[in-house]
């Protein structure tokens, strides 16, 4: 097998453009996804069934069906409803919902990882539920939440490749463009793989940095011993 170097010089600019789009779409979907996930997680922990059950169904649907199928459903459903929607918008929407379902599970897990007595103590002092979540539960759940979220962000980036089937112009779509010209699938997809890897590795490094920063900001006993003491909260 020989390697066709010309494919690299020809294909790389096209793929880089695709990569930029992938980054953009994923970033938007992750932001929306985190917002959706927070709502879903709180609904799933609610004692009111009319919040809990729909949230459960939402998570079940997005976790138990292939992302590809979800993308098709959303993409074809809008025209049927008489709504014209761009493939990119539909793609970002379905990716956000999908990410939201996955993130919500780790947020729920993170909340449950904090002993119940922690929030009870806050509630007993008259603190409203959401404030207690933010000030008492969230900071103590970051050690659980951040690593889990890192994994899921990487998952979202990789799964976003499926959006090419509904003609969203992201990295995998760009690969097909390059392929159509060069007919060199091995070289093309090795480049694509390297670009995905660079992106996910970058995200992992960024999140590791965020974890360190969070650990330093959320005072903890271990940090207190190495000089964080003296700062109240």
């Amino acid at each position: 097998m020989t390697f066709d170097v010309a494919v690299f010089t020809f294909g790389l600019p096209i793929l880089l453009k695709g990569l930029v789009n992938t980054i953009l779409f994923c970033a938007v979907a992750i932001v929306f996804g985190l917002f959706i996930a927070s709502l879903i997680a709180l609904c799933r922990l609610s004692r009111r069934w009319f919040l809990r059950l729909p949230a459960l169904w939402f998570v079940e649907f997005f976790r138990n069906t292939p992302f590809l199928v979800q993308a098709f459903i959303l993409f074809f459903a809008f025209p049927r409803l008489g709504i014209r929607i761009e493939a990119t918008v539909a793609g970002i929407m379905v990716l956000s919902l999908y990410a939201g379902a996955y993130f919500s599970e780790s947020i729920r897990g993170a909340i449950l990882s904090v002993p119940k007595g922690q929030i009870e103590a806050a509630r007993a002092l008259g603190m409203p539920y959401l404030r207690a979540m933010r000030r008492i539960v969230l900071p103590q759940s970051l050690g659980y939440l951040l690593p889990a979220t890192t994994n899921q962000i990487i998952g979202v980036i990789k799964d976003s490749a499926a959006l090419s089937v509904i003609t969203v112009p992201e990295l995998s779509m760009a690969a097909q463009v390059v392929l159509g010209e060069s007919f060199s699938p091995v070289e093309t997809y090795i480049m694509v793989a390297l670009l995905y890897w660079a992106l996910t590795a970058g995200v992992a490094a960024l999140m590791a940095h965020v974890e360190t920063r969070a650990a330093a900001r959320v005072a903890s006993p271990t940090l207190a011993r190495v000089g964080m003491a003296g700062k109240s909260q």
Partner: protein, 271 residues
Amino acid sequence: MEEVPPNADGRRSEPIVRVRNVHKWFGQLHVLNDISFDVQSGEKICIIGPSGSGKSTLLRCLNFLEEHDAGTIWLEGVPMGFREAAGVKRQRASESEINRMRESIGMVFQSFNLWGHMTVMGNIIEAPMHVRGDSRSTAERAALDILERIGLADKRDAYPSQLSGGQQQRVAIARALAMRPKIMLFDEPTSSLDPELVGEVLEVMRGLAEDGMTMLVVTHEMDFAADVADRIIFMDHGVILEQERPALFFERPSHERATQFLARILRRSAR
């Protein structure tokens, strides 16, 4: 509404807490069965009884950490958790109403429940700042006063995990006091402490009692109950079997169950 029963000194006054016909079920289990009693302002009541008798659940109903299924709990004449309306299905009070009422009820838990990501000072000023809206300087000044009173001012910058169990529970009491509650609920405050640390917590509680705080204490510390309580409530299987002054209760309990319970407790402490 029934007539207000007279106090020990014969005065009739509006009780700070009034509990009437409260029931609570956990599934099939009838945890609280027709509970009724009053707490007068300044009164110290110890609730004792075998484990599983519903003592903790009763305490947790008073600040609505558990919702009672029937009956009414009034705090200074205001029903807790539900709106009163004659003849209609009871309606849940709004979250903010419940929160406001909780501000005046301090609670101390068996497992302390100090917030591990905050210092002692952070734990104490959290609710005054973020619930009541005090400024940081006001909250810190008040917190230091309380810390000095319980002898832990030098621990203000320590984290809970750096403290002994006894110190943690004293800080938990300080955290509750910082909201200037009208009544303090103690849910087995010394049960998870090593024996040598029990004394320092009870000492803080005795100090509070002397200052005139209204206190409801679920406890197995019979000496404390005998010394401090104005009244003993003895519970078994979700029912209040006796309400009596400690001298009378410990001398000759009128129920067989109470006699058995006391014998068991005393045998354990004699060992």
